[in-house]
Amino acid sequence: MLLENFLERSARRYADKPAVVCGDETIAYGELERRANRLAHALRALGVERGDRVAIHLDNSIEAVTAIFAALKAGAVFLMVNPTTKPDKLRFVLEDCRARALIARRRRLLATEHLATMIAMDPPARADKRPVAPDTERGAREACDNGAKPAAPTLADWHDLLADDAYPTSPPPKAHIDIDLAALVYTSGSTGRPKGVMLTHRNMVAAATSITTYLENVPEDVILSVLPLSFDYGLYQALMSVKIGGTLLLERSFAYPHAVMLDAEAQRATGLPLVPTMLAMLLQMDLERYDLSRLRYVTNTGAALPVEHIRQLRRRLPHVDIYSMYGLTECKRVAYLPPEEVDTRPNSVGKAMPNCEAYLIDDEGRRLPLGSTGELVVRGGNVMPGYWERPEETAAALRDGPLPGERILATGDVFRTDSEGYLYFVGRKDDIIKSRGEKVSPREVEDVLTAHPAVAEAAVIGVANALLGQAVHAFVAPREGHEPSERELLRHCAGQLEDFMVPRHVAICDHLPRTANGKIDKKALAQSEAGTH
């Protein structure tokens, strides 16, 4: 089974059914299949060969979904690039994977050495006299400097390529098989440059099959996705919707939540994938004003939903199933909590999804029994073959599995299981503090600190200590109008945590340093500690 078969099959069964709705536009399965085929032929004609990388740098749109299936049908490997990605990072990604084709709006096009073609989504503005690809000349000069012959990529127009009689509407012949790559998904680690997670057809079909099984998706589903297609969570909404023959309602962003909810009501959305910030915004709205009676499920992944928010959602939309899930790009998804467990175990991410196995290992790599804490490892058809041209990172992430030649994924996340095997996230392995020989979860200490009424935010790190191994140091930003003392916060911690978890110091700061993503910058805190000791 190849990923593009999802579209080919659904087009046979549901030719006239809406496949994708985006803004005012709708495209039926039959038409989506025809356009994807035309574009696939076009890509081949423009120099894209089997296994070549095709970069898709577009907003959530019918065109983006068309481009994905076109690249697959051409036997190529697609990669989504977030529409807000700036030129430097776009260049990095294109060069890293030696992309052969780039599909984007005209002013985002940029030429690199290996590109054979650039496909512009929009026609040139009549008044627009600027060069189409501002970097073409620079790229050509750099290529000259390297001694390479500059061969500027051809520039094609999307609408011309899809014109009637330009290219056939039947699929091009396929040579690729399921163990070939279907996509690269670039993911940023906490350090260094983004790396491309390689995903085969088999990986993606396995993941999509498992997920649509536990979500119990049916052709009648209408999935409203606000998530960017460049995020694997968003990408799979499109793949899964096409797989089951449902309707994908694509939104560009959650900038206008009221407009999104009006669409959910008008289009009778049955599924709504969320991330915690979206749910937080929804809970601030008056949800009663929308008829959400058709909404069957919401899902969450990426970060944990606050228990309080889960409880609120259960109260306000009691008929909606909540799926708390956990996964990582390297294997798409690992676990989900069956909705019937969410009231009793709201802080669990459940158990491994169908056809996927997940268990905990100790520091020596030995499998742990239930009721333990350790690093989560994953095995299954959904596990990536590795990172694109990054042998060291690949070797660090993939370990030998039980079967000869098998590689299993070490997630770098620490979980605990209860006696029934339900998983609870403890923290990133790198973040775990070892104090007095005991493991301390920074998150656990942070949660205790933020539960104190005077504390708005807390960050906990480990600081090297000759006696303890690492000492637990906490930094807090107080709530407005409050002035807690270190002593009272330490007393508060001592009342709730095991002694080895109680921080050695609690520093009270005006505000905590942040990274570009808005997360608390623990590195900066660590550096400030190193400076003072």
Partner: protein
């Protein structure tokens, strides 16, 4: 209306394009052009409140009211007229 649009354009160029004068038409969708994203919308609303004394209700948070210079100017005029001349 033109003076209003000029003012709005200046605000957008200053705060979202960081002074780089990338051309966009009065009718262009700010979201589609990638000029304003979800946090940008909140900043925009803050500006409308501070600069024009306009309160944007939750159900007015729509692209029709905010997603282009044309839409913004029409929205602001309408709100100012409603407050009473």
């Amino acid at each position: 209306m033109d003076e209003l649009k000029t003012k709005l354009r200046a605000f957008i160029v200053e705060n979202f394009l960081f002074g780089v004068d990338e051309p966009f038409a009065d009718g262009d969708s700010l979201m589609e052009q990638g000029i304003v994203d979800s946090t940008g919308v909140l900043e925009l609303i803050g500006y409308l409140e501070d600069e024009f004394g306009i309160m944007v209700a939750d159900d007015e948070l729509l692209p029709e009211n905010l997603d282009s210079l044309d839409n913004l100017a029409t929205f602001i005029d309408r709100k100012r007229a409603a407050v009473g001349a």
